[in-house]
Symmetry: C2
Amino acid sequence: MESYKIPKRSVERLSIYKRILKVIMDAGFTTVSSSELAERAGLNPAQVRKDLVYFGQFGTPGMGYQVSTLHRAITRIMGLHKKIPVALAGAGNLGQALLSYQGFKDRGFIIESIFDNDPEKVGKMKNGIKIRNEKNSSSEIKDKKIKVGIISTPSSAAQSIANKLIEGGIKGILNFAPIELKVPSGIIVVNVALCEKLEMLSYYLSKRKIL
Amino acid sequence: MESYKIPKRSVERLSIYKRILKVIMDAGFTTVSSSELAERAGLNPAQVRKDLVYFGQFGTPGMGYQVSTLHRAITRIMGLHKKIPVALAGAGNLGQALLSYQGFKDRGFIIESIFDNDPEKVGKMKNGIKIRNEKNSSSEIKDKKIKVGIISTPSSAAQSIANKLIEGGIKGILNFAPIELKVPSGIIVVNVALCEKLEMLSYYLSKRKIL
């Protein structure tokens, strides 16, 4: 099976399995069945088995999965077994929230550069890092060999900074700005659609006549 | 067709169609084909038509969709045609980012109450709203008849504040804390999984040997 055929939803669920396996491991269990994984993830067992088969031969029929082996395998598959330097573009409230977001650090994502276009912010220190002018972002990223960028600027600034990040060698962007970035092929953009999530909540509440 | 059978992904895509329709409308066009909608959304036309049929009879074969009619219909279907008061729990960096997030205001989500458990924050003003002690959240939400809550606290505080919000009458929660909230049936939780998005990016970059 070619890896590019793996459904995006299965990749997303790897994160969920990893999180659940950690909880089970910390509770002292060494094996887990697909039924238990499924129950904790709110899925059916067949879906869990199907998802995991995309990524390797895990588990034994009737025996279940070795918790720590599967956790370690998923961590490696996701590339989360090493530190990943990250460049942050946009040092506003959202950028600052991301800077102190423990979940990023826990997963090895280390913000090593911060860029902004606001002269009031440029030169100031945040979490031990000096905020640099976004004009210098390409060369700094190139020097530091950073491959992952986070965009937390307003929509109006997002495309321009994305271009600069990519020029500097960034290959993957986590984008918080509510616009579709235009990027060359080979560059991966994952959008965090805050508004869409809130709209979804609004839809479900409206349907139930709560709003 | 019963509305509860509408796939979650189709609901999520409504937001995308709405955003694209706004762009087309602002550009002065009055009709749009499913092919054009599909191209702009990165989908195939059959998927677009299938998604929209879940929500009503829109469009005419060979003629396409009336842009403003469809935009208005989607806005109403999602309950986004009126102001929605929201309670925010957690006035840290992320909470403050959300307070000033224009995308929420644009969609009619108005944060009317802010709660925190930090004595340093309680009593201070943020965006014209006094931060209240989370102990008082249930009664304040009840008084203000707020039905939507946003949780931007650390994981350790999320379940406890969720319980208080629900006690006060909150029916829908947008949850940024990276835990699965336990809620009574009938309460809708939409999780914003920041870490999972970053893990997904890590996976795709690892697969291409970039990380």
